[in-house]
């Protein structure tokens, strides 16, 4: 009943005795390395202190060759692809492989050096065999709290990196197996929840130790040189795979543009202008015509733009390619420093990873690649991580806590099916934090966590529904912040499909049911990006995530599907008539059915009305 998962056709597709033994051996080695990454990930998940690790799975684990090139990564969070490809590589190059020693661990979170944004910490450790450097293992994980101007460290109104938290350039965290205590003390003193940071950093360290052991096993079998030669072949294979996929695309220049609706500091929007140049077996993503970098934290570091571009590509092509340093060889990303696509120090960029990245990925995927592969086209998804963060003193134990939270949303209707409801933002694949874990960890009580009815972008194939979450403050005071998008511009429909619905962040004071937006309630510049709003016991917050855009004319939707949507409550009876032109007769539980004649007449008049 568990279907076979997909494997790379050229690597494992067919083989018979005596044929392609090397390829089989290579496949096995690659899978083993990826399996090591999975084990490292498992160790991290099992030993974490933050639900964002154990439940959200917001991390990646890496194995790199002795020159620091990525060989394999656990396929957990595609959003970290760019950082996985470069962050460790760059630490190793900046420090110099000769300056590592057995037992060392380096850490950094510098978005100007390959990190995605400050909360994501990267660790890297060398693996030796009899004193000879053989490989590296690494991981990247989002720490829930790293200081800065807002608890939860998603400072949506930051105007420089220094407000976003503690920045650490490549730094030795362990020296020959011993903790560098001064560095630990500096880091922990600057985080609001040091106990949590201590535990999560140790989960990362433990994951590296698991990786060291396992890679050590590989070295014992193959020797340092043998292993690195095989690694080289794995990289070559990935490169060749990508080249053959790109070569199959028609040469040409494809363009598209989209924008970030505001930067939290002013009302202006920032445009991303993209062109993809396909030439033979190589491909260039050129963003040089994009707007200059924003004042607020919606800028992307280089690796974020790279992640989005590559993921847009990988979601369509080369689905089974081994994800490693080989795949970037035929691809170039041009993102000049000082534009919104490559932030220049000291520009803020915490939202680049969560808001800019999905936007640019969907731009690549939905607007540009759909020109080449229309059968893969889909209307827009909700396309925001909808970060909602909070911190305060937990009345249950008197300790300071902080958390950042993201939300699922509706995805867009597709060429042959409806968009799915309540899925995570497309550039990532994190899990939600379940309500039971949420309430055990933090002083909030949920009133509702459900699908947001009657909001999916109408279309022949309907957009998926967003999510509505209502929760009440259980502590005396709680400080909340948000960093989101899709409050001014709706997720777009495609080919006559209607737009999806927008994000909403609302608040009701204790004892009242009168919700208003945070923007109105607190006089904010941006409805979607704000910091440090203080709520009190009994206040309620309502978070509504966007729904996906529709695909095709809603008047062409099969009336039976509209009926089913009404029965399930996804579409109201009113919308069935006014938007889909479907007239229903009877009552629920009493012969509810499509009135065929009335529907046909209504649809005809609606079409004429449009014409």
């Amino acid at each position: 009943m568990t279907g076979p998962s997909k494997t790379g056709p050229a690597m494992t597709g067919t083989s018979s005795p005596g044929d392609g033994i090397d390829r089989v051996g290579l496949t096995l080695l690659y899978k083993r390395v990826r399996n090591i990454c999975d084990e490292m990930a498992f160790a991290m998940m099992r030993t974490a202190y933050s639900p964002i690790f154990s439940e959200g799975l917001d991390f990646s684990t890496l194995v790199l060759d002795r020159r620091g090139r990525l060989i394999a990564t656990a396929g957990i969070n595609p959003a970290m692809l760019g950082a996985s490809l470069y962050a460790a590589t760059w630490i190793i190059r900046e420090v110099g492989p000769e300056n590592f020693a057995e037992g060392d661990i380096f850490v950094h979170n510098d978005p100007y050096r390959g990190g995605s944004h400050l909360p994501e910490h990267m660790m890297v450790a060398p693996v030796y065999s009899d004193g000879e450097l053989a490989a590296f293992v690494g991981n990247i994980a989002h720490l829930a709290e790293i200081g800065g101007m807002a608890p939860g460290s998603f400072a949506a109104t930051a105007t420089d990196i220094f407000q976003e938290g503690l920045r650490i350039p490549p730094t030795k965290l362990f020296d020959r197996g011993e903790p560098v205590q001064d560095i630990w003390r500096i880091m922990l003193a600057n985080h609001r929840t040091p106990n949590n940071s201590w535990g999560d950093l140790h989960a990362m360290v433990g994951s590296l130790r698991v990786g060291e052991r396992r890679v050590g096993g590989l070295i014992a079998e193959r020797g340092v040189d043998g292993l690195n030669e095989a690694f080289e072949q794995i990289l070559d294979y990935a490169e060749a795979y990508m080249r053959s996929e790109i070569a199959a695309l028609p040469d040409g220049i494809y363009t598209g543009e989209d924008c970030m609706e505001d930067d939290g500091i002013s009302d202006r929007s920032y445009w991303i202008r993209s062109r993809i140049i396909v030439e033979g077996d190589e491909l260039i993503f050129d963003y040089s015509k994009s707007d200059e970098q924003a004042v607020g934290p919606i800028n992307a570091p280089y690796v974020v733009t790279l992640s989005a571009s590559l993921n847009g590509l990988l979601y369509v092509l080369a689905r089974d390619v081994p994800v490693n340093a080989g795949i970037v060889r035929p691809v170039k990303v041009v993102a000049p420093a000082g534009t919104i696509t490559c932030v220049r120090l000291p520009g803020p960029c915490v939202g680049g990873q969560t808001e800019f990245q999905p936007r640019i990925m969907e731009l690549v995927l939905g607007q540009i690649l759909s020109q080449i592969l229309p059968e893969r086209a889909a209307a827009a998804s909700g396309n925001t991580s909808l970060n909602f963060l909070f911190g305060g003193v937990d009345p249950r134990n008197g300790e300071y806590y902080a958390h950042y939270h993201f939300e699922g949303m509706g995805w867009g209707g597709r060429a042959d099916s409806d968009g799915n409801s309540a899925q995570i933002v497309p550039h990532a694949n994190c899990r939600n934090t379940p309500v039971e874990i949420f309430e055990t960890k933090w002083p909030w009580v949920h009133e509702e966590y459900s699908l947001n009815d009657d909001t999916g972008g109408a279309g022949r194939h309907r957009g998926g529904l967003g999510v509505r979450r209502v929760m009440e403050v259980e502590g005396d005071v709680i400080t909340v912040s948000a960093l989101s998008e899709r409050m001014k511009r709706s997720p777009w429909g495609l080919f006559g499909g209607h737009d999806g619905s927008r994000t909403a962040l609302e608040v009701a004071p204790a004892g009242s049911d009168a919700y208003e937006t945070f923007q109105d309630a607190f006089g904010l510049i941006s409805p979607s990006k704000f910091t440090n709003i203080r709520l009190r016991r009994g206040d309620r917050v309502r978070i509504t995530s966007p729904s996906g855009g529709g695909y095709g004319d809603p008047l062409e939707r099969d009336p039976a599907k509209v009926l089913a949507d009404v029965e399930l409550g996804f579409v109201s009876r009113v919308s069935a008539e006014s938007v889909y032109g479907v007239v229903l007769a009877g009552a629920p539980d009493d012969g509810l059915a499509v009135d065929e004649a009335a529907t046909e007449a209504l649809r005809r008049s609606m079409r004429d009305g449009v014409a």
Binding site: Y86, W90, R93, E94, G96, D110, Y112, R113, G114, P169, I253, I277, E279, I284, D286, S288, Y302, K332, V333, V334, A335, P336, A337, T339, T341, C342, R344, L345
Partner: protein, 65 residues
């Protein structure tokens, strides 16, 4: 048309970017002079120099057509 060391002080924590693609420059960089000008560009390596030429030619042909 040559490699140069970045030679940063140990207490200098700033970073340098490739003039062509925006990627990070580490430890050393490749420099070249624009074919149709005199400006010197700092970039990742020779592939970026070639990329620069390619993008220039594309713009040229877009202008011509």
């Amino acid at each position: 048309m040559a490699w140069h060391e970045l030679n940063k002080n140990w207490h200098d924590t700033t970073v340098d970017y490739c003039d062509v693609c925006g990627n990070l420059l580490i430890a050393r960089y490749w420099s070249f002079i624009e074919p149709d000008g005199t400006e010197t560009r700092r970039c990742c390596d020779e592939t970026c120099e070639r990329l620069f030429g390619r993008l220039r030619r594309l713009e040229q042909s877009a202008r011509d057509s």
